[in-house]
């Protein structure tokens, strides 16, 4: 299958390993990945901070760039949530009905990574090897906007060598919330402190999630507290296989927190 990668501005700029792992994983499964060069940002930050009018040009760009593709994937529940639940709304509010309908069409072809693997490509065992004790944070937008449910966990359970440990109070927000973490930094920190306590209580050496933004937040807290627990994107767990490790390609598998 020919799959267009919507890399997301955060993964592109700060966490390229998550995006590279997405490419490697899909190619390893026999699919062609293309990267439409005109893409930038879905505009979620603008919409969620109260700047919908400024997001219109970003929605228009996103729709123009991705409209030619049958299947689009992003390694982010939050950015797919924005495409699916906000783009048409922003266009409609700006009075552009045509853009709204095209945005809806693109949204229907856009999938978060675990949705693409399980629902579109029909795989739960992607042949991955990741010999670590892992706890999984489900992330709010994957969980409640996209309803990915247990798809990521089913994928993780099939990974060789991986020991999955349940995260207590997993469904509670880590406190990121985009500009919330800046505008309400103290409340966000209080939420993060509880999330970190739960992550550390699992004894896992890796905290995984399907969103680089939440991982940046949790990882930033772990790093500041001096913890050795690493944050790793779901794609970076699903990409490596046993021969990969033997070949010594391990160095760029992990998002540095």
């Amino acid at each position: 299958m020919r799959i267009a990668l919507f890399v997301t501005c955060l993964a592109d700029t700060v966490f390229p390993e998550a995006a590279k792992a997405t490419v490697r994983l899909l190619e390893r499964l026999g699919h062609e990945v293309v990267f439409p060069a005109g893409q930038t940002c879905c505009g979620q930050m603008h919409v969620n901070t109260g700047y919908q009018a400024q997001a219109v040009s970003l929605v228009r760009r996103h729709v123009r760039v991705f409209d030619p593709y049958d299947v689009v994937v992003a390694p982010s529940g939050s950015c797919v949530g924005s495409v699916r639940h906000q783009h048409a709304m922003v266009a409609r509010r700006a009075g552009d009905v045509r853009l709204a309908s095209r945005a809806e069409s693109v949204a229907a072809r856009t999938f978060e990574l675990s949705e693409l693997l399980v629902d579109v490509l029909g795989v739960t065992d992607v042949g991955a090897f990741f010999p670590h004790r892992v706890t999984y944070h489900p992330t709010c937008h994957s969980l409640r906007m996209l309803r990915v449910a247990d798809r990521p966990v089913r994928l993780l359970r099939a990974v060789r060598g991986l020991e999955l440990v349940e995260l207590p109070a997993a469904e509670q927000c880590c406190g990121f919330g985009g500009t919330f973490a800046v505008k309400n930094a103290d409340t966000s920190s209080a939420m993060l402190a509880d999330k970190l306590r739960h992550v550390l209580s699992t004894g896992a050496d890796v905290c995984a999630a399907g969103d680089a933004s939440c991982l940046m937040h949790i990882g930033g807290g772990l790093s500041r507290s001096g913890s050795a627990v690493r944050t790793v994107h779901l794609a970076e767990i699903l990409a490596p296989t046993e021969p990969d490790r033997a070949g010594g390609e391990r160095s760029d598998l992990v998002v540095r927190s």
């Binding site: 890399v7 966490f15 390229p16 109260g50 040009s57 919330f180 973490a181 505008k183 993060l192 790093s223």
Partner: protein, 476 residues
């Protein structure tokens, strides 16, 4: 009362009632977050209610259909509110009640004060009600020399403690039993000085005090959970029976009700009386459901007044996205699941309506500029939407209201610059490469200025990668 109305509906007036906080949410939250006792009380209380409610919601096979029905009934009622209110007025009047229309808090307070004065009583007993807190009725009564006595146990604790409620359902959620004992010893008339902090002992002390008051006060004031347009029936749901005392013992009953509480038919209550207790207290059935229709000669209050309050609601109704906030049945499920509320408590929201629903209702009732920080008091995690028994899409409303909020000038400029760069890929790529220069901001971002220093107080920034994804892609 009739008047000619011209122009757009107005928001709730300033200087009366409790819809506006003294300071923005982040500042108020900071103080609450530093109160370890408050954090413990809140964490324990919200986790307990959450678990109880979750269990009884899960056992209803048609919960999702009930939610959809509740949402549809409310949407229908809002769509023909004027017609339903006039029908309600007619039915209440037919049944011997008197209906008053109050455009705002000042009018409602004046109506209630006049009605109480006419009875000659200098004291009223009160059923727990959000709307009378909203309009500051107690202050208005006190200013007129009338003593209001809250009869809901938690509201009584708040009143005696000269405090403010911090939760819709459990107004004294921020107090533990040791604090309650101290408040009773200090402020409850005739209290036993040997009072302990055993819950049963505290409840017995309140019961002794309240029983005297019930038997000697001729006027009660209540709110309403529902009003049925087709029958003129008012309904109050509560857990203690103290509301039932107020609604049946006095000679005069005055009910203040937000206009959005009307439902079209008696049968609609079937839906809400299943939704409300399970979402709210985590009970299968509400313990005390009191319903009355006008006046019944020789039985219960012989004089009944219904005050229909707008106080900004028509302005909310005028916003086709925002109006769903009026569907709220005040169950407080959204507070109990909210990770922000759980940590800051209700006072940080400044309004009598705290938590996620408060963050979307208060700014609409007052106009967004007067509560501009509230729509941002959420991480948009969406737990409130899932918990809401009438499916109010609170995250959507928060985003909608953020768009109406006044923005800091520096932020506006930064957002405009970001949007421009993101619409110009070459500029965007240059900006991406510049993040590698972020070492100028100090190790892991610790040198960043405010407001970004809020992030770096407790979190490191990620190390910038050697190349962006698109650089890697281009080099493949």
């Amino acid at each position: 009362m009739s008047r000619t109305f011209l122009g757009m509906p107005t928001t709730a007036p300033k200087g009366v009632g409790h819809l506006r906080g003294a300071e923005p949410f982040p500042a108020a939250a900071r103080r609450a977050l530093s109160d370890a006792q408050l954090r413990r009380n809140l964490g324990h209380a919200t986790a307990t209610i959450r678990a109880k409610s979750g269990a009884v919601v899960a056992e209803v096979p048609d919960w999702e259909q009930l939610r959809a029905a509740g949402s549809a009934i409310k949407a229908d009622a809002m769509a023909r509110l004027p017609e339903l209110l006039e029908q309600l007025e007619q039915r209440v009047t037919d049944a011997g009640g008197v209906v008053h229309w109050a455009a705002d808090a000042n009018e409602a307070n004046a109506i209630v004060v006049d009605l109480v004065r006419a009875t000659g009583s200098d004291r009223v007993i009160k059923v727990k009600s959000m709307v009378t807190q909203e309009i500051g009725l107690n202050e208005a009564l006190e200013a007129a020399g009338i003593a209001p006595v809250e009869t809901d146990l938690a509201e009584l604790i708040v009143q005696l403690g000269e405090d403010r409620p911090s939760h819709i359902l459990v107004p004294a959620i921020h107090r533990n039993r040791a604090e309650i004992r101290e408040i009773f010893l200090r402020a409850m008339p005739g209290v036993d000085p040997g009072l302990t902090d055993e819950p049963a002992v505290l409840a017995a002390a309140a019961r002794r005090f309240l029983r005297q008051t019930f038997l000697s006060t001729p006027v009660a004031v209540s709110g309403a959970n529902f009003a049925v347009a087709e029958t003129g029936t008012l309904a109050v749901v509560e857990s203690e029976g103290n509301g039932r005392m107020c609604l049946t013992l006095p000679r005069t009953l005055i009910t203040v009700m937000g206009v959005e509480k009307v439902v079209p038919t008696w049968r609609d209550l079937e839906v809400f009386l299943q939704l409300l207790p399970r979402a709210s207290t985590g009970e299968r059935m509400n313990p005390y459901t009191s319903m009355w229709t006008g006046v019944s000669p020789g039985d219960g209050p012989q004089e009944f007044h219904l005050v229909l309050l707008d106080n900004g609601r028509s302005a909310v109704l005028a916003d086709e996205v925002g109006r769903q906030a009026l569907h709220c049945i005040r169950c407080s499920a959204c507070l109990n699941v909210c990770p922000v509320y759980e940590r800051t408590g209700g006072h940080a929201y400044g309004s009598v309506y705290p938590g996620p629903i408060g963050a979307v209702l208060s700014p609409q009732l007052t106009g967004v500029a007067d509560n501009a920080s509230l729509p941002y008091a959420s991480s948009l995690c969406g737990a409130c939407y899932d918990a809401c028994p009438v499916k109010i899409n609170i995250p959507e409303l928060l985003v909608h209201l953020r768009d109406q909020a006044p923005h800091p000038r520096g932020e506006s400029a930064a957002m405009a610059a970001a949007a421009y760069a993101m619409d110009h890929p070459a500029l965007y790529a240059a900006a991406q490469r510049a993040t590698r220069l972020s070492r100028l901001t100090g190790r892991r971002g610790r040198g960043l200025p405010p407001p970004l220093s809020g992030w770096t107080a407790d979190r490191d920034l990620p190390e910038p990668p050697a190349q962006t994804f698109r650089q890697w892609w281009a080099s493949r």
